[in-house]
Amino acid sequence: MSFKVLKAGLFTTVQDLGRYSYQRFGMSVAGAMDPFSPRVANILVGNKESEAVLETTFMGPTLEFNSSEAIAITGADMAPKINGRPAPMWKTILVRQGDLLSFGGVKSGLRSYIAFSRGLDVPVIMGSKSTFTRGKIGGFEGRKLSDGDQIGFERDLTLSKGSYLKDVQIPEYRKDDSVRVVLGPQDDHFPEESIETFLSSTYSITNEADRMGYRLEGEKIIHKDGADIISDGIVFGSIQVPGHGMPIIMMADRATTGGYTKIATVITPDLSKVAQMGPGSKISFSKVSAKEASEIYRENEKRIEEIRDHIAASTFNLNETRSMNLKLKGKSYSIEVNEIV
């Protein structure tokens, strides 16, 4: 009842939706960078949305299953394969003992998520299974996965029906994108022109972009009276502007507090977009009010509710999944067929 990590990939960690309630001790939240994808992957395998998944960045792992399991792969398209044959994304997949899950190169997006119906058997620390590598806690031994690791499952496989998303429900990842922000908490530390610069310029994501934060490069943002504040709280999506005038977006492994002025905060539904962009991508910012942000948040939750409804309504029997090879006009295809219930 486990799987073996034959190749760990570039940066693969166990993540759930984060370790909340301990930030006052300086404990970072960690959790999935793109919260949308693991939530949907978990729904596809019959889990609660906050169950721990694998998050893999840029280059995916190779996993060997020692028992049958229902999985779902969402997020970035890294050309997943099962036993060398292309595997579907955003859809429940039944894997059997001895099956190999591997990945090719990344085609769009940056981070893929793999959900497991039987759950990952790693300890719950301070209410969460998320790996916080800088603090060396959580997930699998507090670290990213290495070749040869073996991770157990928590429970028996009870899922008998799989499902999938409608094409329109699958997000498209772009190299250049616009994200929405709420100004503040320290927007009053910047002159009017600087806010204008921030909202009208395009910023490139530098190579210093990881789970902790994304350093951006572009038009310099000038402060009224210095970049330092008395250190206060930071949230997922806080945009800090240090003395050099280049914004930094604070991400999942962010520090809980910090002492640079924060010009704005990325709204939660757009964090998934940021998480799927990497070095070299370009970001521009548009402003929404706190009230609008709250409405957008609720619309986005409604979208996930619709996905949940569709998944519940469009099922197939997992055991009935058949793979076959097909020749069409001289070309070979590998297809998967499910009986629709």
Partner: protein
């Protein structure tokens, strides 16, 4: 302290309650009392509070609340904030090797303030610092009470890696890095003491309300203490309710 608390938006799931724009024992005490009041009577949708020097980060569930509703709920709680206090405190001694490879920025700090390196060490280690808050990384304590004579702005470009145990200065604040992490503080020394040990029974050494006392040590002493720590033979010197040195040179 402001006459009225300021409420600042921090995205769709959080807001900042700001009580003032200075580091003061009075504001910090007001914050600790406010946290207690909010916890005793939490507004609908409240998820988590991060108290800091002069503000509280209020994190809420945006499905159950929004900025306006949360402000209203918090305002109602503010009426019941008490004046409690605490009498028990610890003074925690932190042996620190100043300068050299351990504190690469100490000469900059000295030059910036027209002092010698020895004067910086003397000023930094002759007062006890109140730990106002934990934050930034696990076990990082923000300390108050540093002399303005050694205040130095943060680095313009933060370092990408600072070793655990580093003692630094940022504007009028001083602190110790518990884990290897990026940061923009001016580094003046390093302690072999572990402030954060994920495998220890109590992973975080310092608590809000403690006093921290820096004790200058030589490089040899640093290495000796480090060896004792590795062999699990070192005990941190903690003085309970001792005399606090608050005379800032």
């Amino acid at each position: 302290m402001y006459d009225k608390v300021k409420y600042l938006p921090a995205g769709d799931s959080a807001l900042t309650m700001e009580f003032g724009n200075e580091i003061s024992v009075q504001i910090n005490k007001r914050i600790r009392n406010t946290v207690t009041a909010i916890e005793n009577n939490p507004p609908e949708g409240l998820r988590e509070l991060i108290p800091t020097y002069r503000s509280i980060q209020v994190i809420y569930d945006p499905m159950l609340s929004d900025f306006e509703k949360m402000v209203q709920g918090l305002e109602e709680v503010m009426g019941s904030v008490g004046e409690g206090g605490e009498d028990n405190y610890r003074i925690v001694e932190i042996p620190t090797c100043y300068g050299g490879d351990y504190g690469a920025d100490i000469e900059f700090v000295a030059k910036h303030n027209d002092l010698t390196v020895e004067e910086v060490i003397r000023i930094h280690s002759s007062t006890d610092y109140l730990l106002y808050m934990l934050g930034f990384t696990p076990g990082f304590g923000y300390l108050g009470g540093m002399s303005e004579k050694i205040a130095t702005p943060r680095l313009e470009v933060p370092r990408t890696i600072i070793p655990a145990g580093s003692v630094g200065i940022a504007a009028s604040q001083t602190g110790i890095y518990p884990i290897d992490s990026p940061g923009g503080w001016q580094l003046i020394g390093r302690t072999p003491i572990k402030l954060y040990d994920p495998l220890a029974e109590v992973p975080v050494l310092l608590n809000a309300g403690d006093y921290v006392r820096f004790k200058p040590i030589s490089e040899d002493k640093y290495k000796e203490i480090q060896r004792l720590i590795n062999e699990n033979k070192y005990e941190v010197n903690i003085i309970h309710n001792g005399e606090v040195r608050l005379d800032v040179l």
